[in-house]
Symmetry: C2
Subunit: 178 residues, 2 copies
């Protein structure tokens, strides 16, 4: 599928997924897209756990009220260190690395006919990242930073409306006249 079509089609899906499974070959293809993402100093700080075990999906999904979480046929959990190593002048890039990997995977998910939504802030409250970490046997120095529920969407949804180019982009001077 053409890259620009995928970028324009990708959207955040919060509705129900159909009963159609997400095969492991597709899940591997999706995570491999994440693995190809750039990372600061090529440190590849993001790790991934693919959940497709029915009980585990149920345990995680039932923590949320969102239909996409409750009916997901697979989830990809993106894992980063609690204290990422500084790799350049005291800075670490684990959040950027993880976000780039998530975006690559989100595009791959779209290209393969599935849908997802970037679950992030929800993990940071009510100790949820730790509780989900426990379900997948995560060590104490790592945390689940982003979660992608995946499935075949049962509703047709389009991309959320975006501000037009002229309201977000300028040539050579910030907020210059077009």
């Amino acid at each position: 599928m053409d890259i620009f079509k995928v970028i324009n089609t990708r959207h955040s899906y919060r509705g129900e997924f159909t009963d159609e499974p997400v095969g492991r070959a597709d899940l591997v293809k999706i995570v491999n897209a994440g693995i190809c993402a750039p990372s600061g100093k090529n440190c590849q700080t993001t790790e991934f756990v693919i959940v497709d075990d029915r009980e585990k999906l149920q345990s995680i999904g039932s923590m949320h009220t969102m239909p996409a979480m409750r009916t997901a046929k697979a989830m990809i959990l993106c894992i980063i260190p609690y204290k990422p190593e500084a790799v350049y002048e005291g800075h670490s890039f684990a959040v950027e690395d993880c976000s780039a990997a998530v975006e690559n995977m989100f595009l791959a998910i779209t290209a393969l006919g599935y849908a997802s939504v970037w679950i992030d802030g929800w993990l940071r409250v009510c100790d949820r990242a730790r509780m989900i970490g426990d379900i997948i046997g995560l060590c104490a120095d790592k945390k689940v930073r982003v979660l992608l529920p995946i499935g075949v969407p049962s509703d047709k949804i389009t991309q959320a409306e975006k501000k037009p180019f002229i309201e977000r982009c300028w040539f050579n001077m910030y907020r210059s006249e077009p």
Copy 2:
């Protein structure tokens, strides 16, 4: 160009660019890919300044020793607030939003036959983000977070080697046996 081919081809290019220009139609196409990226609560926190003015390119590029910075035919400056608004339970997602937009643009750059490199940490030291902000007339409450130099690569480069799937991804349990 097929999404998976682009994801596998994208690489960080630090070498010299040829004299070939990067047309404005392509630059708009690239930034529109960034605009389509997801953002927390759809807040679209990232703004963009495209630099293709020769003097400005020279001013910014000469601050760096990297050939890709010194010979860039265009740059995209990604701008976020210094103090991003909390949009969910005290959390803001400006860094994630910006990173997703950068990755979309990086893929678009690749698909159109150009190359780039994600300049990030370098901006955070020696007051460089502020100095570059001054060049584009940026207001004091915003900063240049990421910079993408763009051009036609003069050398053939492949993607940096990545750890294989089995060293970064597991099914259902963290670091379980495959």
